[in-house]
Each structure stands twice: as C-alpha cells, then as structure tokens.
C-alpha cells in the first residue's frame, strides 16, 4: 500500500539470497565533516554497486562490533560508490567513523522508500533539513539540481545548532551561489561573526517563496524539528499529502522481520524511512510511539 510511485517501489537487495548476509565493501575515501562526523566513500570489493534512489539507506557493518542503518548521502548519478555520512553516536558508528582508507566494511542494502523526486516534477520543491538530516536529503538535492528544468522554484532550508556544526558547509556555499535556487541557512545560536540567520527552520519556511498549492516538501531532521517544520508548512498552506518526512527508529534487520523499527503499523525500514505526512499524521505527535 506504500508503493504507488516509481520511487516508492523498493529496490532489490544488494545480495541475492540471504538478506542477512552483507557484501564486503572497501573504504575508498574519508572526509571529516565535523568533529564527530565523517563521510565515507565505499566501493564493492567485487561486482557492481547496486542502484539506489535518493532517501534509501544501507546497513553498514563494522567487523565484530555491529551494524547500523545509515542513509545514503551521495549522488545517484555516480554508479561506482556508496557515500555515507556517519556521526559517532554508539559502538558501531564509532567503529565505522574510525575506519581507515582501504578498510573493509560490510554493507546490506539499499533498503527503504525514496524521496518522491519524480512525482514532484513540475512542482515547487521545498527541502527542509535539520542538522545531520541534510545527509539523507543530499541525494535528492543532487537530483533536483541535475534536473533543474523539471521543477518550479527550489528552496533549500537548513537549520543547525551553531555555524561550527554546519554539515556540507562548502557545498551549501556552492548551492547558495546558484541563483536559480534559494538556499537559506539558520542556526540556533551564533556570535556576532555570523552574518546569516539566527532562529529556527520554521521561520525560514514562513519566509520562503513557493506556491503552497503546488509544492512538494521533503523534510528530514530531529523529530521535534520535523514536527515544527510540518506545522510551519501547513500554516503556509502545503497539503499534508505533499509533505514527506524521513523517519528514524531502531532499525536492526532493515527488512521488516525484527520488529524494532515499528512506528504504529509502519515498519520504518520498509514502509519508510521516507513517509508521506498524511499517512502518519495521527501518530506523529504521540509520545513514545
């Protein structure tokens, strides 16, 4: 019931056969983004890299430590590597952020639903990101920029804590120089050296220019920020079924068999992570769901 569009159709698993068995990839490049966050480019040690759609995720496995769900943050047009931006928040993510170039890493995936970038053609696009939530949105940004003429106005609205915590800083600056799109960054706190916006993402939504009756909004960030962002989008007149969110829950198996990632009747791993707001509206603000 969640598969009516091309992007929503689930992609085939990386490995045929047992979906619990990862494929071995090799770390090609590492880029330190923030003090606790790195971006890894990884390639399969054998065979082609599977196709993926913007918004999907992989299960990354650190040998002897464990597995963690990480969204793909690269450019789908690059068919050689998987790009993952990983923050050190636990044992497995710490092991992954500590890998060196040349190290082996296990990969299962890609899994999950995608941002509706094809369905959104012809509409204005509002991309709302908070903190590390910019990473799962980056493939969608690459896609809409590469296919600029297929969309109306494009706004990228990004909120983060502090100017020092800004993910993909150089890239954001490059996107800002593109006069054909609107890029607004806001921070929760800043000192006076910061000449940009101070405030929260909903304020950027209120200021952005888009046609609320023909806009597709893609939202990813901490859940509280997404709740505020959805309220601001709805205040602006965007319909609930035009708002798409990337949800986070504890994903262990990624294939709907382990039960951990349930969000009401949805399994975030297979019915998400990208979900249409109208379908989860009744659960969205329920505590501990």
């Amino acid at each position: 019931m969640f598969t009516e569009s091309a992007e929503m159709a689930r992609m085939p698993p990386a490995a045929s056969g047992d979906p619990f068995v990862p494929r071995i990839y090799c770390v090609d490049r590492i880029r330190r983004e923030l003090s606790d966050t790195v971006t890894l480019e990884i390639t399969p040690s054998q065979g082609p890299r599977p196709r993926y759609a913007p918004g999907q995720f992989n299960m990354l496995y650190a040998f002897g430590v464990g597995e963690v769900a990480i969204s793909i943050s690269g450019d789908c047009a690059d068919d050689r590597t998987f790009v993952h931006t990983v923050r050190d928040v636990g044992a497995a993510s710490r092991a992954i952020t500590s890998l060196d170039v040349g190290a082996a890493i296990g990969v299962r995936g890609p899994f999950g639903t995608a941002w509706p970038v094809t369905d959104a053609e012809g509409s204005d696009i509002v991309i709302v990101a908070g903190g590390l939530g910019l990473a799962p949105l980056r493939p969608a940004i690459y896609h809409v920029l590469a296919n600029r003429s297929r969309y109306g106005r494009i706004a990228i609205l990004f909120g983060t804590r502090h100017p020092q915590d800004m993910l993909y800083r150089d890239e954001l600056a490059a996107w800002r120089r593109n006069l054909d799109i609107s890029v607004e960054v806001t921070v929760d706190h800043a000192d006076r050296d910061w000449r940009g916006n101070v405030g929260v993402v909903p304020a950027l939504i209120a200021r952005a220019s888009f046609d609320p009756h023909d806009t597709v909004a893609l939202v990813c960030g901490p859940e509280i920020m997404m709740r505020f962002a959805v309220n601001a989008l709805r205040d602006a007149g965007v319909a609930p079924d035009h708002i798409h969110l990337s949800m986070e829950r504890n994903m262990k198996c990624a294939i709907g068999l382990c039960g951990h990632c349930q969000f009401g009747p949805q399994f975030v791993c297979k019915d998400g992570p990208v979900m249409r707001f109208d379908r989860i509206a009744s659960l969205f603000a329920v505590r501990e769901i």
Partner: protein, 395 residues
C-alpha cells in the same frame, strides 16, 4: 505396508485428502516411528511440572492422563480421570521455538588479508515433525509464515524449516482456562495447515483417534498405518467434542472494530493502569506463538578474528528494543504494553492482513501478574477515547 493394512478393515483405494480414518494408540506409535525415520519428531511431554515440546520417540513420552489447569498467572498439571493423551490445552512452549529458534547464528565472519570474509551459517540438518499441534498453533504458524515468508525479503532459514515440517495436529477436547480461540476464530477445530489431524476418541472400551487428512504426504503416511474408515458415529463424536470444547472456552475477546479501537487509543489512561501492574518482564512475548521480534548480536572470539552474527528473540518490553542514539523511544512501561497489545491486536492487521493473536491464552497464563489481554482490551472498549489522537498543539 499392505501386510499391516490387510489385517484391519480398510478402504481399497489408497487414503486421499478427503478420507476420514480411525487409528488405534498402537497406530499412533507406528506413526511416530514412521516419522522418526525422516524427521526429528517433536511432541508434548511433561517436564518440570509443565507440558513442553521436546523430541519424542515413544508414545509413552506423551502426557497421557494429565491435564493443565490454567488461569491468569496460574498453571498447574493435574491427573485426569482418564488416559487421554492430548487432554490438556497448551503449555509455555510453542512450535515457534523450532521454526523460529530462540538463538540462531546467521553467519560467521573471519578476518583475512583483504579485511574480512563471510560464510553463511550451516543449515539445519533435521526436518521437523510436530505431533499434537493445536488449531490455535496452526494459525500461529500461518501468521509467522506471513511475517517470515510473505514479505519481499524472506527469512531463508525459516522458509527451509517450514517447508520441510510435517504437522500432525490435534483437535482440542479440553478448553484451557485462559483459552479464547473461539472468539479469535482460530479454533478449536483444526481446519487446515496440517498433514494429518487427530481427534482423540475416548470411551468406556475405546481409545482411538479419528484422523483427517490435510495433505498428500499425510495421506501417504496414513496409508502406511493400520487404520479403518471412520464411521458416521466416529465423525459425529468428533463434532461433539469440538462443540463441547467451543462451549467451554475460558475467556473471550471481542474483535469487532478492535483495530480502530486500539489505534485511536494511544493516550488512553488504561495504559498507565496496566503499567502499574506490568513488570515489563517480556514473558508474554516469549510464550506468544506469533511474537517474532529479534535482535542481532556480534559474538567475537578472544582473538577478535572471528565474529558470529547471532540472532535472538527479543521483546518489545525491553528498554533496548526501541533504542535510538541517545535513548529509548519507549521509556515507560505503559508505552511498551501499549505497543505490544496494539501491535498484536491492531497494527498486525495493517501489516500482515491478520490479527497477531490466536487466542491461545499463554500470555495470560504465564504473566507473573496475571495481566489478561482480553480484560485489557475490554477495558479500552468499555471506556473508549472520544477523539482519535490527532495533533495537539498548545502555546
């Protein structure tokens, strides 16, 4: 085996799926022996004061003359007046422990020069034959089939074990004190999902089993056993047993509109009431024949050169279950009980097209506090929330 069948009254045609036969206790022993040639035969037996499912090789291991007295938080074996072999309901075990084992190695990884390599786990060598599967348990297996085989990513191990399993079901002649299969429409009569189904016919001068055939494999096995065609009286006796069991259900659960009822009650005050009693021990999820949740752990050897990915049963009652970086989504006991019962009775319907509850009553019996799923569902129904939990924004 023609020489054996020749000695009893038998149909001339080989047994078919439509056939109803009657076999003796001796033939049941022969059935176990015949299955043991190809299968690991598992059936009910008494251990530590409970009827559990273990490997059996002989009819004498079955719990003849025992019944289980069950109520919320209570389970006790008692002697029966007769020698009924299947004169009990269900114990703490369910067949999921064989089809979906509590601990399973998914694969093994080894460090090598290129990093590491992965070898899939060695497959289970034995095929299972289950003796004494109840109707509720057949439904539970069918539900787990939807979970593990029905999705785009099948559980390879489960599928193999399930495809190979031979199932001998039993129609219940006793309803347990916590049973409510009749209201879940999952029993007491076994209607499909078996190779053979037995109905124990016990009287002054008889101890026989009416056998219905559910598969070609079942028909073939029956053909190798001494048997006779069932009489109209035998068939009528079976119907009477099932009718009597249905009439003696210990409990009932009203299922009408249960999905909408629970899905619209996330903030019901009853959850706090349950939480005040619930120990979040997870017993209910362990004994439940459909609960399927698992976690996966890495087991490394001391050198760190070998790692096993080991899957284990998990429970939505643990704090760890919903952990995302920084903390658990479901911190409170009330949210965890709500998750369990809402998933079981409501969300399961969205996910798999069926309720996740088969009315076996195990969660009621084995809850140390006797928390009763039927009572909790009824309490929500008795005092429904006025509005669906929509968004609520204050200033």
């Amino acid at each position: 085996m023609p020489d054996e069948t020749a000695s009893v009254q038998t149909a001339t045609a080989p047994p078919s799926k439509a056939m109803k036969a009657v076999i003796s206790c001796d033939a049941l022993q022969a059935l176990i022996a015949a299955l043991a040639a190809d299968y690991l035969v598992l059936g009910p037996t008494v251990r530590d004061g409970a009827i559990v499912y273990e490997e059996i090789s002989d009819l004498s291991q079955l719990p003849a003359g025992w019944k289980d007295k069950q109520d919320a938080g209570k389970y006790r074996l008692e002697r029966r007046e007769d020698d009924a072999i299947f004169g009990f309901a269900v114990g703490p075990h369910s067949w999921k422990r064989f089809l979906h084992p509590p601990v399973e190695t998914l694969w093994t990884g080894r460090r090598d020069n290129d990093g590491f390599s992965i070898a899939p786990a060695a497959g289970e060598p034995r095929k299972f034959a289950f003796i004494g599967v109840r109707s509720c348990e057949l439904h539970a297996i069918a539900i787990q089939d939807k979970v593990f085989i029905g999705s785009p990513y099948a559980d390879v191990g489960y599928r193999a074990r399930r495809q190979d399993a031979f199932i001998v079901a039993v129609n219940c002649a006793e309803a347990g004190g916590t049973c409510f299969c009749a209201s879940m429409e999952t029993g007491p009569e076994a209607k499909n999902g078996f190779d053979l189904v037995l109905t124990e016919l016990l009287g002054e001068a008889r101890h026989d089993f009416l056998v219905d055939v559910g598969s070609d494999a079942g028909a073939a096995l029956l053909g190798r056993l001494p048997h006779r065609s069932a009489s109209d009286a035998d068939v009528a006796a079976k119907a009477a047993i099932i009718a009597q069991t249905r009439a003696r259900m210990g409990r009932a659960l009203e299922t009408d509109g249960i999905k909408e009822l629970l899905q619209s009650s996330p903030n019901h005050q009853r959850w706090d009431d349950v939480a005040a009693r619930c120990l979040t021990c997870g017993n209910c999820t362990m004994v439940c024949p459909t609960c399927f949740c698992t976690t996966v752990e890495d087991h490394s050897d001391l050198t760190g050169n070998t790692a096993e990915r080991v899957r284990k049963w998990d429970s939505c009652f643990t704090l760890d279950f919903s952990y995302i970086h920084g903390g658990s989504v479901r911190e409170t006991g009330s949210s965890r009980y709500r998750q369990w019962i809402t998933h079981k009775l409501a969300n399961w319907i969205d996910q798999f097209g069926t309720s996740g509850c088969v009315g076996c009553g195990r969660c009621i019996t084995w809850c140390p506090l006797g928390i009763d799923i039927t009572e909790e569902a009824a309490a929500i129904r008795a005092n429904p929330m006025t509005a669906a939990g929509g968004q609520h924004e204050g200033t």
